[in-house]
């Protein structure tokens, strides 16, 4: 097949693609992220580019010769540098939790000085190694593959019987992944990944010491084929679509691996282990497993558990003998990311009743302790990820994340990175709603007060809107949308408590995880009725708990085994089948709630 070069002039990047490829796909291949929320159907009109100076939609333009493409700024996904220090990913109690499990990384390296064979000690080369390992690791069944055995005699004799074996832990067994001459014990690295619908986060770990060497976060490249999960599942329902989505996320991960190994002078061949956590759809797409039935009633995934695989099967750039593991999930709606979060916050080992609320595109909630756990997903919608709102955006540079409103109804907004405001992110909306309520701009029903005289309150075709900053507004429909989101999460929490006849007061610890960047004002979240009015010292914002759990599983095989215990022990509650959930939900469609008695600390 003929290939053509697509030259992205503004990015100074060129790629060769086969005849017939569309420009959107070529851009993704070149590592350039274009807006395309419709999934490349030619409908949203967001992927406008200039091809040879003429305006066209990238997804509808087919490459049939060498072309120059220039991309206007508006079509680029905001590629603002996402800050990536590990302490911003996970916070507080979770960092302490990592010490709870014995250090036994997914891949261990052992330096062995073997005695050579003699007439009296006539064990085979391989048995010789097993004997030595057996001396060090009891009760573990060890095996290895033929490729290692084929090279074994040569490796042993060349190295004077001094070798380093890397041993990968796979559930109850262990496998010798590689046998290298000499002492390479300190060259043992791994990656932990959280694969989210919107963002992918990764960390390079030193498996010899347990240290975090570096972190990266990036937008999931699959977003170019649909920003929401349903569009993506539809896209992935054909073999070609599935392949494209799979390659997109692998690209994300491989870029991070290359980027971080380069930055920290680590050889790619020294990456032996990767641990991944993600929601059910992301796991299916990562492993190229058909996700189609996830969106069709009765919403059944192909599998919730995926065996540890070798690197080539996973398609990751690392030592080909290395292994990749996946945190298991419970159901379609409670994926490995939540099981990972439960591991990270310690809910499954707590004597006290603990609550974990992960606020992302869905609000996932787990309640319980060491004896029992129940979990549910609230279809909160992506409003708190800044999606589907007039001025909503992700928590990146330029997003308003803190808001104050003065008595004269002037708005003081501060943005991430201190840049000129481009939109409002989830934590910004929480602050905004709280301040608008306090200032009387909206009533408890969420409607903008039409009698208030202010230049910032304007009538529009569909109702009223409030001006937050230049070209940034919030209107009646936005507030309605946010109200439904917060109501869905709050009522899911209360429904779970009701399900086991527990009161809010009996919950000793409440962990909030999710994509709020690194700022969430719990007080304000309670004020608008997103979170229940519990004692503030019981709340803790823990950031990306999914990544923390993946990291813990990478560093401790006990932690990994624990995730298999956790997923089996979480009882999934289908809230849509609970009549009381609908009652709770409708009752919560007020700020903070129709029943003010539930929010004694909120003074309006």
């Amino acid at each position: 097949m003929r290939e053509f070069t697509v030259n992205f002039t503004s990015q100074k990047k060129a790629v060769k693609v086969p005849h017939g490829t569309d420009v959107l796909t070529a851009a993704v291949k070149a590592g350039i992220m274009l807006h395309a929320s419709c999934g490349g159907e030619g409908l949203c009109g967001k992927c406008k580019v200039l091809i040879g100076g003429k305006e066209a939609l990238a997804c509808q333009s087919i490459v049939s010769r060498d072309i120059d493409v220039s991309i206007p700024k508006g079509s680029l996904e905001t590629h603002a540098k996402l800050k990536a220090a590990s302490e911003e990913f996970t916070r507080g109690a979770v960092l302490e939790r990592e010490k709870a499990f014995a250090f036994s990384p997914m891949v261990r390296k052992e330096y062995l000085e073997l005695s050579g064979p003699t007439a009296d000690d006539n064990l085979s080369d391989l048995e010789r190694i097993y004997r030595q390992i057996g001396r060090k690791f009891h009760n573990v069944h060890v095996s290895t593959n033929l490729a290692n055995i084929k090279h074994l005699s040569e490796v042993l004799r060349d190295s004077d019987f001094k070798v380093t074996v890397s041993i990968g832990s796979k559930d109850e067994a262990a496998e010798i992944l590689s046998i290298e001459p000499g002492d390479t014990k300190n060259k043992n690295f791994g990656f932990a990944f959280d694969i989210g619908t919107t963002t992918v986060a990764g960390q390079l770990m030193d498996l010899a010491t347990g240290d975090i060497l570096g972190s990266r976060i990036a937008f999931n490249k699959q977003a170019s084929y649909g920003s929401d999960i349903i569009t993506r599942i539809i896209y992935g329902s054909t073999p070609e679509g599935l392949k494209t989505l799979n390659e997109a996320v692998l690209d994300n991960m491989n870029e991070m691996i290359e980027d971080l190994t380069k930055a920290h002078n680590v050889n790619l061949a020294d990456i032996y282990a990767v641990s991944c956590a993600g929601n059910m759809t992301m796991m299916h797409l990562l492993l190229k497993v058909d996700p189609a039935n996830i969106r069709k009633a009765p919403y059944i995934p192909t599998s919730t558990v995926f065996e540890t695989v070798h690197a080539p099967e996973a398609g990751l750039k690392m030592n080909p003998k290395g292994i990749v593991s996946f945190i298991p999930g419970v159901t379609t709606y409670i994926g490995g990311d939540i099981v990972s979060g439960v591991l990270a916050c310690g809910l499954s080992e707590s004597d006290d009743i603990t609550l974990l609320v992960d606020i992302g595109t869905n609000g996932e909630i787990v309640l319980g302790n060491r004896e029992w756990m129940i979990g549910a997903a609230a279809s909160a919608g992506p409003a708190f990820e800044g999606s589907g709102l007039t001025s909503g955006m992700k928590a990146v540079n330029g997003a308003i994340q803190k808001v104050e409103i003065t008595k004269s109804l002037e708005v003081k907004a501060s943005t991430i990175g201190g840049e000129r405001p481009k939109g409002i992110c989830g934590s910004g909306y929480i602050d905004l709603l709280c301040q608008m309520l306090k200032a009387g701009i909206i009533g408890r029903d969420g409607k903008i007060n039409r009698d208030l005289k202010s230049k910032n309150i304007r009538e529009t075709d569909t109702g009223y809107e409030f001006v937050v900053a230049d070209k940034i507004t919030v209107n009646d429909d936005d507030i309605e949308n946010l109200k439904r989101s917060k109501g869905a999460i709050y009522s899911a929490i209360i429904s779970l408590l009701n399900k086991v006849d527990k009161s809010l007061d009996e919950v000793r610890k409440i962990y909030i995880a999710g994509g709020f960047g690194n700022y969430l004002n719990i007080e304000n979240a309670i004020f608008i009725g997103l979170l229940p009015d519990a004692a503030r010292d019981r709340y803790e914002f823990i950031g990306n708990s999914s990544l923390a759990g993946a990291r813990m599983s990478l560093l401790s095989h006990d932690a990994y085994l624990k995730t298999h215990e956790i997923y089996r022990n979480i009882t999934y509650i289908d809230l849509s089948a609970e009549n009381s959930y609908m009652d709770e939900y409708v009752a919560s469609l007020f700020f903070p709630h129709t029943d003010l008695g539930r929010f004694p600390s909120v003074r309006l």
Binding site: L43, D501, Y572
Partner: protein
């Protein structure tokens, strides 16, 4: 006191073996607490736990079955006071009183009238369930003959009402294989009625003055060996009966009183057809599992069956509107055509906004199993192919002179494909219904 899901969980093996069909022991325990499943589904439960769980595992309202086969009437097994808490399981049976003093010709007419009391409503068949034969004549042969006749000439379930045990026993024999309900009318002695029910293995209804008497009586009947019991509250008037029903049901459900954990029945008082309909509807809405009426006029029976259908529908299933073309305002050939799903709230919201726009329009509801727009789209119930099929089937093309469909803004992503399959021009409407008036006014 009823055990909670967590209480029961503590007594289970906690192995999550899934042999019961549930994913975890806790899920099973919760279903058990809600009486949605029986304990014997768990093959591993210990004898000790079994004893502790026995009371919690039993349904709080005993299931009583009258009749056999497809048309049998099941009563009881209710678990909630209010429909919205979960659902009601068994719709009230409606029975027609037939006295054995009627002339041969009148009986023929009455039975054919009862047989004809069957209607179709929102796609479901609704009918009366039972003929309640009353021994007014005092003659046991006449009564037995009537029972035999009803058994042989109709498929109706049968209840035998009287105070003379000899007459009722005789009648049971002539329709025994139809598993009739024996109703003791409260006169004379109850013992021979209990014996007749026990001997013939049929359920019994006992007439009582109030909950206290009922509790004593059911204990007595149960001790005598009859398990399937219905309580017929006598009550002085409608409100006294409703009070008895409510008190007895609440005591059974909330306090776990086994002696009141049975289905209830009532027989309407002799009154005009309007008063009787009102009375019967009151009992249907407040806990009567069987209501016996006298009137067989279709115009009075249908409303009663509709009340029953509405109360006993499952509120967990979304309410749907008919999938068809709705005309809003004075539509003509140029009126816009809006497409949405058949979830009732979706339709009524859209219809309301179209009305307030004052732009006459057609609204087509596609059958989406009652799901709202985004849910239906995500679950593949609202797809371009499905819309195409609906549009063609309903023949909107004959009603309008244009070829343009307006679809909800939330499914804008399907507009391209929809245009391809329908050949119609697709316009993307607003995401929220609140934007419809403005949208329609500016639609050129």
């Amino acid at each position: 006191m009823a055990l909670t899901g967590l209480d029961i969980y503590k007594l289970l093996p906690k192995t999550n073996c899934k042999d019961c069909g549930f994913a975890t022991c806790l899920a099973f325990a919760m279903a058990l607490a809600q009486k949605k499943v029986s304990l014997d589904k768990c093959p591993h439960v210990s004898a000790q736990a079994k004893d502790a769980l026995e009371s919690a595992a039993q349904p709080p309202v005993k299931l009583v079955t009258v009749g056999t086969g497809d048309t049998k009437l099941e009563m009881g097994n209710e678990t909630v006071m209010f429909r919205h808490e979960q659902k009601f399981f068994h719709p009230s049976g409606i029975g027609i009183l037939v006295e054995d003093t009627l002339s041969e010709a009148d009986i023929t007419a009455k039975l054919s009238a009862i047989n004809a009391l069957t209607f179709e409503r929102v796609g479901q068949r609704i009918s009366v369930n039972l003929a309640c034969l009353k021994n007014t004549s005092g003659d046991k042969d006449v009564f037995a003959k009537l029972a035999a006749r009803v058994a042989s000439s109709t498929k109706l379930n049968i209840a035998l009402l009287g105070g003379d045990a000899a007459a009722v026993s005789e009648a049971i024999k002539s329709c025994k294989d139809r598993r009739p309900l024996v109703i003791w009318d409260g006169s004379g002695s109850v013992e021979p009625f209990i014996n007749a029910a026990k001997e013939n293995k049929v359920p019994i209804a006992i007439t009582c003055a109030g909950p206290e008497e009922a509790a004593q009586m059911t204990e007595k009947v149960k001790a005598a060996g009859v398990e399937e019991i219905v309580i017929n509250f006598k009550g002085d008037n409608i409100s006294a009966r409703i009070q008895d029903f409510t008190f007895a049901r609440r005591t059974a459900l909330k306090k776990g009183a086994r002696s009141l954990g049975y289905p209830f029945m009532a027989i309407t008082s002799p009154a005009g057809p309007h008063a009787e309909l009102a009375e019967a509807a009151s009992y249907v809405s407040k806990y009567a599992s069987l209501v016996i009426i006298r009137n067989t006029d279709r115009e009075f029976v249908l409303p009663l069956l509709v009340v029953r259908q509405d109360i006993y529908s499952d509120p967990q299933k979304p309410v749907q509107v008919e999938a068809k073309i709705y005309e809003i305002g004075k539509v003509d050939k140029s009126s816009p055509v809006l497409v949405t799903t058949n979830f009732s709230i979706t339709y009524f919201t859209v219809a309301g906004e179209v009305e307030s726009s004052k732009v006459p329009s057609y609204v087509i509801c596609c059958d989406s199993d009652g799901m709202s727009v985004l849910t239906a789209w995500a679950a593949e119930k609202f797809t371009p192919e499905k819309i195409d099929e609906t549009v063609k089937k309903l023949g909107i093309g004959k009603l309008v002179a244009h070829k343009r469909l307006v679809i909800p803004g939330y499914v804008s992503v399907m507009s391209g494909r929809l245009e391809e399959v329908t050949g119609w021009k697709i316009a993307v409407g607003p995401r929220e219904a609140s934007g419809i008036p403005n949208y329609l006014r500016n639609l050129k």
